[in-house]
Amino acid sequence: MSASFTRAINVLREQVDASVASFFSACTHCGLCSEACLFYTETGDPNYIPIYKLEPFRHLYEQDFTLAGRVKHIFGLSPELTDVALAQWSELVYDSCTLCGRCAMVCPVGNNPGAMVRKLREGMSVAGYAPDSLVDATQRNVHLGSAMGVSYKTLKAQLIHLETDIGLTVPVDVQGADYMLLLSSMEIVQFPEFISAVTRIFHQAGVSWTISSTAFEASNSGIQIGASDIAQQIVERTIKGAQALGVKTVITPECGHSYTALRWEGPTLMGKPLPFKVRHILEVVDQLHQQGRIHFDPNTKDTRPLTYHDPCQIARQGGVIEAPRRLLNAVASDFREMAAHGKMNWCCGGGGGVSAIERADPLRSTVFKKKKQQIEEVGVHTVVSACSNCRMMLEQGIEDNSMDVEVISLTELVADHLVSVEQTVRDVA
């Protein structure tokens, strides 16, 4: 038995709590979770049934934590969990689960397989069975501060460009600001328009905000790979940056997992409450709109038929469901809901680190069929979303399937419809 396998088993044992014990004890093998998982519905492969992805974890739970399991084991009726079995499960635990949590919404006994896959990944990463590309991303996240290796220099260069474009200054390292905005590397490198959009929105609302030069990265690969110690280091960097500037609220950007990582997992990882509030950018923009601090011209609504793709970590796993809809209805006149939306949305197929796993590309491409079908059903050529990873996945899927659909950011859409109060008054007059 290798040392890493022994460590993995110990880590997995640590993951078992009363909720896990309840979940495993309640499962009746009805298989209904399979109908909620796009990896099963789009492939028909029973290996992708959510509860089945947890077999090694269930095995360990029964063998180590139940009387019946111990008895079975003593009489040789239950084989020992082996290193080989864990290795074989790597694809099921990483490539075919986006931690989207849809299975948790439909299980008749209330099981939460997604949350348990997240726990199983803790053991898998210690055993050395996390996919190489995810390991590399995590190493960059720790050593370089960003999963994509983006440095502050790169960010600064982008900020100079966009400041010229929009004629506004992006505040950096402002002491005592109310809000500190985090950014995902993807936004810095591929979607810098997001930063422009936030700057324009906050400028109109008169928000006191800043970006930290030492803690600007939102991504937390530690969560995706299942390495709490690493995830903790990354959260700690955010805490230090926020404390150094004395901010009250940290805003996570249009990035699904970084929101969950900081707001919901952050306190657990740190073992204490965070010294600031965490809010998603959509929650903040929606609040500004409701407070009347930003204005849209009701006469110049976007008339394109459009739909909204709920990022799983922001909607189902994060609770930000109504805010994007209020914003969309404020700026667009033909917003169409997909049949399954909000807490029942279907994942883009690339969450939970799957987009970073190269070997998962063909599978991801296959399961995109579900999103394609949803987009075609609502008959739109514009999909709005609020997660840069979803945006990438949607754009890739759309290109692979030669669809005539564009993907846009909700924050950017909102910013594009801003009008000053004076302008509105003039228009009305």
């Binding site: 309640a26 298989g31 109908e35 934590f65 609770g319 029942m344």
Partner: protein, 222 residues
């Protein structure tokens, strides 16, 4: 033969029932200690809570309903599953002889349903359970997940209903035999509850509660 049936009936009514109750209570105690003796899930996640809707208790009740969009994906298992659970509960709690037995044990009393209704519900429940078995053997995901225990649990659940129906209708077997086998199958079911997937009769509630509690803290009605 009849003497043996009488003896068996006396045994299952007396020592057999006592043994089954003891194993059930002891087994449930062990299982509940195993589960809830574990550390509680971390509560720090609640520190960022912005509770907007839902709760663990609401999820316990909500999961009796079919989630939107799911019925068309698995109509057989949903409908048969719901009918069988409701039917089982109706027959168990609202059949007059069962109420009399429960009254003996607990002192509680309530109004039962007419025998004609119980008869109809029993037939519906037997049929639903057969559909559940067909689904278990026929639906790809369910068949793939199912092991020997799943089929054994189905049989242990089906037999009390079947033997009870045989006794009630006075068909197939002499009444003494039917009643003795009915009680014996109920006792086997009682013994199996703590040590098999039948434990979900208890843990489905805690599982739903944990699910609903964590999601409601995030503002999601799960």
């Amino acid at each position: 033969m009849n003497a043996f049936a009488t003896e068996l009936l006396l045994w299952v009514k007396g020592p057999g029932f006592t043994i089954a109750v003891i194993i059930l209570m002891l087994g449930l105690s062990i299982r509940l200690m195993e589960i809830f003796g574990m550390k509680a899930p971390d509560k720090l996640v609640y520190s960022q809570s912005n509770r907007q809707s839902g709760s663990g208790v609401q999820t316990i009740f909500r999961r009796f309903l079919i989630p939107k969009g799911m019925l068309s994906r698995a109509p057989g298992i949903y409908l048969a599953g719901i009918l069988f659970h409701i039917g089982y509960a109706v027959v168990f709690f609202l059949f007059e002889p069962h109420i009399a037995l429960l009254n003996n044990l607990t002192g509680l009393n309530w109004q039962g349903l007419p025998n004609s209704v119980i008869d109809f519900v029993a037939v519906m429940t037997l049929f639903s359970m057969i559909v559940v078995l067909v689904c278990r053997m026929g639906r790809r995901a369910m068949r793939f997940l199912s092991d020997l225990e799943d089929y054994l649990v189905w049989l242990l659940t089906f037999l009390p209903l079947l033997t009870g129906f045989v006794a009630f209708r006075h068909v197939l077997l002499p009444y003494t035999w039917a009643l003795a086998l009915h009680l014996l199958s109920v006792e086997l079911l009682m013994i199996a509850i703590p040590f098999t997937k039948l434990m979900h009769t208890v843990t489905a509630f805690s599982s739903r509660w944990y699910n609903g509690d964590i999601y409601s803290r995030k503002g999601v009605m799960s």
